[in-house]
Amino acid sequence: MSDRSIQFRSGIVDGIPIALGYLAVSFTFGIMAGDAGLSVAEAVVLSFTNLTSAGQFAGLGVMQAEASFAEMALTQLVINLRYCLMSCSLSQKLSPKMPFFHRFLIAYGVTDEIFGVSVCREGTLSPWYSYGLISAAVPGWTIGTLLGAVSGNLLPQRLLSALSVALYGMFLAVILPPARENKVLMGIILVSMAASLLFAAVPVLSGISSGFKIIILTVLIAGGAAFLFPVKEEKTDV
C-alpha cells in the first residue's frame, strides 16, 4: 500500500469518533435550523459549507434577527477567530515541500476536532491524513444535520446524550498520552482546565462567549508557558 493510502486510511479511522460526536451535535443543529425557519436543503448546505458548531448556532440567531450581512460577517469572525490560531499552529506541521494547493483544501477542515487530532500527530502532517479525517467527519456533520432537520425524533435522546461525550473523550485521548512523559504539558493541561472552570463559574467571566474564552486562555496560558518553558529544538516532536 502506498504511503498516501496508509495515511488516508488512518485518517478515516481516527475520524470515526469525530463523526460520531458530530452526529450528536449536528442533529441538534438540524432541529434548531428547522425551528428557525430554514428548509432541509438550507440547513444541510449550511452545515456542509461551514463545518463549525458555535458559528452555525450563532448564525441562526443572526438570521432570525434579519441582521445585515456585515453583522453576520462580524459575528462569524469573532466566534471563529480561534481557527486562525489553530491554522497558525497547524501551518508548522506541514512540510514546506508539500504542493501548495493542499493548504487550500486542508483549510476547509480546520475544526476544533480535526485540528486537535492532526496537530498532535508525530512528525510532519500528511495532507492525506487530513483528507481521511475530513472524509469521515464531514458526512457525520452533514448527515446529522439532515436527520435533525427532517425528523427531530429520529434519534432517541438517550443515544444523543451518550454520543455527546465522544468529542471530549477524543480530546482527552489526544492531549493526555504526550503529557504522561512531559510534566510541563501536564501542568499546562491542568492549569487550562482550572482556568476554564473559573471562567464557567465566575459571574462576570461566564458571560464571555466560548470562542473568546478559548482565545483569551490560549494566548495567556500557551503564551506564558512558552515564556517559562521554551521548547528546545529536539523536543518539538514530543
Binding site: N80, S89, L167, A222, A225
Partner: protein, 102 residues
C-alpha cells in the same frame, strides 16, 4: 429581508478565510523560539479548555458526565486509541443513564 443562502455564503466565506489565510501565509518554518513554543502549546490549552468543564454539562445528568470524564481520563492516560476512549466514554454514559434518567 435577505435570502438564507446569502447569509450562508457570507458565513462560509468568512469562516473559510479565517482558516485558510494563516495556512497559506505561514509557509516557512518559524524560527523564533517563543513563537514556536507558543504554537506547540496551543492545542493542549485549547483542547483542555474545551473539554473541561463542558463534558460535565454535555449529558443529561452531571453524574454520567463525570463518569465519562473519569473513564476517558483513565483510558487516555493508558494510551488507548481515540476511538476506544471515545466509545468507552459514550458507553459509560449510556449505561449509567439507563439507571439515572427515565
Amino acid at each position: 429581508m435577505y435570502s438564507v443562502f446569502g447569509y450562508i455564503a457570507v458565513m462560509a466565506a468568512v469562516t473559510y478565510l479565517i482558516r485558510m489565510i494563516p495556512l497559506v501565509l505561514l509557509k516557512k518554518e518559524i524560527t523564533n523560539t517563543w513563537v514556536k513554543s507558543f504554537l506547540f502549546y496551543v492545542p493542549y490549552v485549547t483542547l483542555a479548555v474545551m473539554t473541561f468543564p463542558a463534558i460535565l454539562e454535555a449529558t443529561d445528568s452531571l453524574i454520567s458526565g463525570a463518569a465519562a470524564l473519569l473513564v476517558a481520563v483513565v483510558l487516555a492516560y493508558r494510551g488507548k486509541s481515540l476511538i476506544q476512549v471515545a466509545a468507552a466514554a459514550c458507553a459509560a454514559v449510556f449505561v449509567l443513564e439507563l439507571f439515572l434518567v427515565r
